[in-house]
Structure formats: C-alpha cells, structure tokens
C-alpha cells in the first residue's frame, strides 16, 4: 500500500513538473479564462437597450417634437433623426436604423382624440427591421409603450431578483460553465493523447502501475490549475462584476469543484477515443464550443427549446452546472434546492471516469 502511494506521488510530481516547465502554456492557461471572464461578464447581454429609431415626419408640430424628444432622452433608444419617406427601406436594409416611426399628417388631431378616450385611428405606424424577430417584438413593445405612455392606463411592473436587469449576473454562471468545460477538456485530452502520440503511454501502460493511477496522476495537476482559475474567477465575479454570490461560498465551491472534475473527465474520455492530438483538440474545442454555448442555457433558455432538444441538452454537463450556479450565485437558494443538479453532475463524472477506465483496460488486454 505504502509503495503504491509512493508510486502515485512520484507520478503526480512528474506531471506537475511537466506542467510547470512549460511556462508559456501555463501562463496562457491561467490568463485566458480570466480575461474572457471579465470581457464577457461585462459585455454579454441579451437585453435590448439601444434601438435605433428614425422618424418620418410629414407635418412637423409641437407635439411631434415633444414625442421625438422622449426618444432621445430614453436610454433604450438612439435617434438617427428625421428621414425622408422614400428612404425607409434603404435605411433599414443598410442597418442604419432598427425601426422607423411614421407619423401621420394629422397626428395632433389623432393624439387629442386619444386623450379624450375617443376611439381613434392609429397614432403612428412602426416599420420594424424584423430580420431579428427579438428586436422587432421587444422594440415594437417598447416603442408602443413610449408613444402611448401618456394616454394609456398601465399597470405597475416589478422585475425581481435583478431589478436593474444587469445581465452580467445572469451570464456569469454561463460563462464559467463554458470556460471550465472546454479548457479542462482540452488540457486533459491533449495531455494524454500527446503521450499516446509519442509512444510514452505504452511504456506507462506496460509498467506494473495500474491505469487508474496513471490517469489520476495526469489529472491532478490540471485540477489544481483549474482551482487557481476558479479562485480568480470567483474573486473577479464578486469584486469586479459584483455578482452577489448569495448562497455562500461553500456550496458554490462544492458545485464548482465537482464540475471541474467532470470537465477533466470529459477530456479523459475524449482522449480514450482518439489517437492524435489534432483530433482530440478538434473534438474538445470545436465539438464542445457549439453545444456548451447553445444548448446549455447560457444564452438561450432551455425552456424555449423544442422538446427533443430539451432532452438532448440533458447530456450537456454545462446545463446542470449553469442551472445550479444561477440558483446559488444569483438567486441565493439553499444547497438542498440544487441537489438534483449536483447529483446529475456527480453521476456524469462517475460514469465518464468509469467508461474511460474501461476503455483503457480494454487496450491492455
């Protein structure tokens, strides 16, 4: 037993030494996640807050002037000024404006009719660039709200948890989920396949050391590296991006460490199905980017997917991590409420490691 532990420690030391000696790669692996985290944390936002509006005003009047001023004063809109009616299509097609408000000739008359509660003709016509339906739907709703603001009886609206709608909060867990999965998978898969490519893996596998030992020894340095990344990312989230981290650091760390282990296991699994570094990296980088951005709930809510894709998204580890972290970091729910996410992540980790080991053992026989 003691001897075995000695072998294990020797292996871990060797792997650490490998990692530390390649200082450029180390620097890159430590810096890139942090820079991306900051960059995306500040910039990614699906909220619509800058609809560019042009105006067609056939008959200028005081009330139209007041109406257009409301748009220039509103942070959700940017006015691109008055445009001739013949150029509406060109302006929209070239992407100069997202929407054009066409005021009618008799706007003043229609407005006063509406104010008196008389059934009136439309106050204005909105021409939307609907190539992005989201901008079109939301933008039209916003614009209608502003145009009709004075004349309609509207309910009081409260947005909870994040009333300023700072999306940084919402996307931080998503970015973490994507970065850890891809970076850990790339690191482990390439570390193991590189040894295969050079033939040194065979040397290790014919040695009396069990594959389990070799594999864990390979993963431990990367686990530590990822822990350093996790620490920086959490500190940045808390103090730079001001994410509340309300649920307490223990459960956040617990879920994150499990997820890192899982991501390393994904890399390990990839390394058992490939023989070349190029293939391993193509799968772990190219193959994982699309699903972990699109199917994880990072940008696009899972609930909006068609049923089949909702089932498909269940195999994406990032989905469960992001769900758990959103609840822990933003909503501040208790750990017991994310237990299902945690157990699924745990199950995936165990299953992947078992599968990878089976494949390794197969090869020796």
């Amino acid at each position: 037993m003691k001897r075995k532990r000695g072998i294990f420690i020797a292996f871990v030391k060797k792997e650490f030494w490998h990692l530390l000696r390649d200082s450029r790669t180390l620097l890159v692996a430590l810096l890139i996640p942090v820079v991306l985290m900051i960059l995306f944390g500040f910039t990614i936002n699906t909220e619509l807050n800058n609809v560019r509006v042009g105006f067609v005003i056939p008959h200028p009047s005081e009330s139209i002037r007041r109406m257009t001023e409301k748009f220039s004063g509103n942070p959700y809109f940017t006015s691109v000024g008055q445009i001739p009616p013949t150029r509406i299509d060109e302006i929209l097609r070239r992407g100069v404006a997202d929407a054009v408000i066409v005021f009618p000739e008799d706007f003043d008359r229609r407005l006063s009719a509406a104010r008196q509660g008389l059934p009136a003709e439309p106050l204005a016509q909105l021409v939307m660039d609907a190539s992005n339906p989201n901008t079109a739907i939301q933008g039209a709703a916003y614009l209608q709200g502003v145009i009709l603001g004075d004349v309609a009886v509207s309910p009081e609206v409260r947005l909870l948890f994040n009333p300023q709608m700072k999306s940084a909060f919402y996307f931080v867990p998503g970015i973490m989920g994507m970065l850890f999965l891809i970076i850990c998978a790339m690191l482990t898969s390439v570390a193991i396949v590189r040894e295969k490519e050079r033939g040194s893996m065979e040397v290790l596998l014919v040695s009396p050391v069990r594959p389990l030992v070799i594999i864990f020894a390979k993963m431990i340095p990367y686990f530590f590296l990822s822990c350093v990344n996790l620490a920086t990312i959490l500190l940045l989230s808390r103090y730079v991006l001001k994410v509340p981290l309300t649920a307490g650091i223990v459960s956040i760390l617990g879920v994150s460490l499990l997820y890192i282990a899982l991501s390393l296991a994904v890399g390990l699994f990839i390394s058992t199905v490939t023989h070349r570094q190029v293939t391993a990296l193509t799968i772990s980088a190219m193959g994982l980017i699309m699903p972990s951005v699109m199917l994880s709930g990072m940008l696009f809510p899972i609930e909006n997917l068609p049923r089949i894709l909702q089932y498909l998204s269940c195999v994406i580890p990032a989905r469960w991590f992001i769900d758990a972290m959103r609840k822990l970091m933003i909503e501040g729910l208790r750990f017991t409420l994310i237990l299902d996410d945690f157990l699924i992540l745990l199950g995936m980790t165990v299953a992947l490691i078992a599968l990878a080991l089976l494949r390794f053992n197969d090869k020796i026989d």
Partner: protein, 368 residues
C-alpha cells in the same frame, strides 16, 4: 508554381487520408444546421403566471381567464396572497405574478382605477421584460373588454400599427442561420489551420521543409489554399442544408454571399496561421485560438446584439472582423442588401483579410 503544385498535392493527400477530417467537414455543418437553428431563439412563450386575486370580482376573474387562454402563458393557479406567490417564484415554479388589488373592479368603474402589479422573475432578462409586457397588454385588453360589456365608454386603448419587414413571420431560425454559418467558418477555418501547422512543428516535419529552398510565401499559400476550399465546402453544405430543411435562400445575391465568405475564410485561416507561427505546442495554439474565436463569436453580434453592450465594448467590436461579416451575411441573406449597401463592411473585411494575410506570410520564419 511547380513547388506550389507539389505542396498542394501533399496537403490534399494528407487531408483525404485523415480518418477524421473529411467526415467532420461534411457532417459538422449538417449537424449544426439541423440542431442549432431551433436552439437559438429568444422568443418568449409559456411564461408561467400566478394570479393573486384579492379582488375576487368578475373583472379579476376575466383577467385570470384571459391569461389562462393565451398562447403565451401557462396559467399556474390563483394564489391566496402575494407572499405565497412570491415563494413559488423563488422556487422557480412560476415566472410572473399578476396581483390584482382588492376593490379593483369598483375603482375602475368609478373612473380612478387602482394599479395592478406585475412581478416577473428577471433572472432571465428577456423572459422577464417581454413576459411583463405581454401581461401589461393582456390586462389592458381585459379591462377594455370588461368596460365595453358594461357599455361604458371612456377607456378606449389607442394603438400604433406595426409593420415587420424582411421576416414578416418573425421566425427566429432565419435570423440565426447566417450567424451559425459564421460560427462554422470561425471554428473550422480558425482551429484547423492552426492545429495543422503546429502539428507539423511538433512532429518536426516543418523543419525538413525549412531546410529546402521553398519560399515562405509559397509554403503559406499551400497551407492556406486547402482551408479556403474546405471553408467554401462548409459554406456550400450549410447553405444547401438550410435550404432543404428550412427553405431559406439568400434574398440577396448568392454570389455576394460567397464573395463575403471567401474574404472571411482567407482572413480567418490566415489568423490561424499567425497564431500557429507564434506557438510551439498544440495546447498553446489551441488556447490562443480559443481566446480569439470566443471573442469573435460572443462579441461579434452573432448571438447577442452589439447595441446591448456597454459603450466601450461597442467601440472594441470595430476591430472584430466577425462584426462586419455578421452584418453582411444577415443583411444579404435576410434583407436582400447588395454589395453597394454594404460597401463599408466589405471594405473593412477586405482590409482585415489583407492585414492577416500579410501577417501570416511575415510571421512564418524558416530561420530562427
């Protein structure tokens, strides 16, 4: 020319002999076009609504009823009080709460209506804001319906008509497909050349080439041309797949779509080469490329609007070629814009192509 010929022959032989790459080049775009257009939707539907009815009047029941029968909402239940509804919201069993105050119907009939309150879970910002907008509309129309039934005039809701251009049916898929093509090109033409060259470095085969009199520009060209071909194959497959599956064709010119793709492929693969020239190991190259690619994808306006970014970040996007390519692809595909409409974007893209192409040739050194 002869040298370029033999080098190209070598690259294509290696490509076709690879057990993985040719399959990937064909099936990756098909898979992406099959799955991801459905994923990428920000349309809000099935908002789960809990109604807190403290009024318990015919009007409040009408409002509940309207919500129950709307396609946008999934009516949960009528809760007794606001706190209980809030608990449901915290447990993620409902998305929004409509709270109707006691005496609401009466106040409306008197002409000084109390305010309905709408609370939405805004952790999902889009769902929160759009959901509450829908709720505002539906409560408004319910009130109007109620007043009309009572024969009371005086609360007609004035309206604004909306015309949707270019995508009248508001299908989000159509908007995503050009962006998915861009993502494919970014991934394929960014990662593959970088990996290919660093692989030659790690194996030492590039040194055997460096000791021959091959010109560095010729060698780089032989590396880049196969990726232009691969990139165009990927574009062709994804255009064809999206036509077969979704019937989507560019409303602008096909030629211009290919022209823009051509420039972007050159630019992207040249960038991959530059990264490879600076990297000595695969993992280093892939990390650097991952960095660039994620910025291109997530900040180029492909998935989230550039206008939603903070101002400094919007300025930053001017140095991202994916931004211009995105504008061109979407405008050509969906709005039928021509190269003249998009001359500035084409110029920017071409400039980047030139810069990266030159950098690729300069940074490759046969001698250290």
């Amino acid at each position: 020319m002869r040298t370029l010929g033999v080098l190209l022959e070598k690259e294509f032989l290696q490509l076709f002999r690879d057990p993985f790459m040719p399959k990937m080049i064909v099936f990756f775009p098909i898979l992406v076009m099959l799955i991801f257009p459905w994923v990428a939707t920000l349309e809000v539907k099935d908002v789960r609504v809990t109604v807190v009815d403290q009024d318990n009047s015919s009007l409040s029941r009408l409002i509940s009823n309207e919500i129950e029968h709307s396609a946008y909402f999934e009516f949960q239940e009528v809760a007794k009080d606001y706190d209980r509804a809030l608990l449901r919201l915290e447990e993620d069993r409902t998305d929004a709460i409509v709270s109707i105050p006691a005496g609401f119907e009466e106040s409306l009939l008197k002409g000084s209506p109390k305010k309905i309150s709408i609370s939405a879970n805004a952790v999902n910002a889009v769902k929160g804001s759009v959901g509450s907008q829908y709720l505002t509309q539906i409560t408004g129309s319910a009130q109007q319906e109620f007043l009309q039934e009572k024969g009371i005039q005086g609360l007609s809701v004035p309206e604004v008509t909306v015309t949707n251009r270019y995508n009248e049916t508001l299908v989000y898929r159509n908007y995503m497909i050009p962006a998915l093509m861009i993502m494919l090109l970014i991934l394929v033409c960014g990662f593959l050349p970088a990996l290919n060259i660093v692989n030659e470095k790690e194996r030492g085969t590039i040194e055997q080439i460096n000791v021959t009199p091959v010109k560095q520009s010729v060698f780089m060209l032989a590396k880049l041309i196969p990726f232009w071909v691969i990139g165009l194959v990927v574009v062709a497959i994804s255009i064809f797949t999206s036509f077969i599956l979704y019937g989507l064709v560019p409303s602008g010119s096909w030629l211009e779509v290919f022209l823009a793709c051509m420039i972007f492929i050159i630019l992207m693969s040249a960038l991959g080469v530059v990264v490879a020239n600076y990297s000595s190991t695969m993992i280093e190259a892939i990390f650097l490329m991952f960095f660039v690619i994620m910025i291109f994808v997530l900040m180029g306006g492909l998935l989230t609007p550039i206008e939603s970014m903070p101002e400094w970040a919007q300025y930053f996007t001017f140095i991202l070629p994916s931004r211009y390519f995105n504008t061109i692809m979407r405008a050509t595909y969906l709005k039928g814009a021509s190269i003249l409409d998009l001359r500035l974007e084409y110029a920017a893209l071409a400039a980047f192509g030139l810069i990266f192409g030159l950098l690729a040739a300069i940074t490759y050194r046969k001698r250290s």
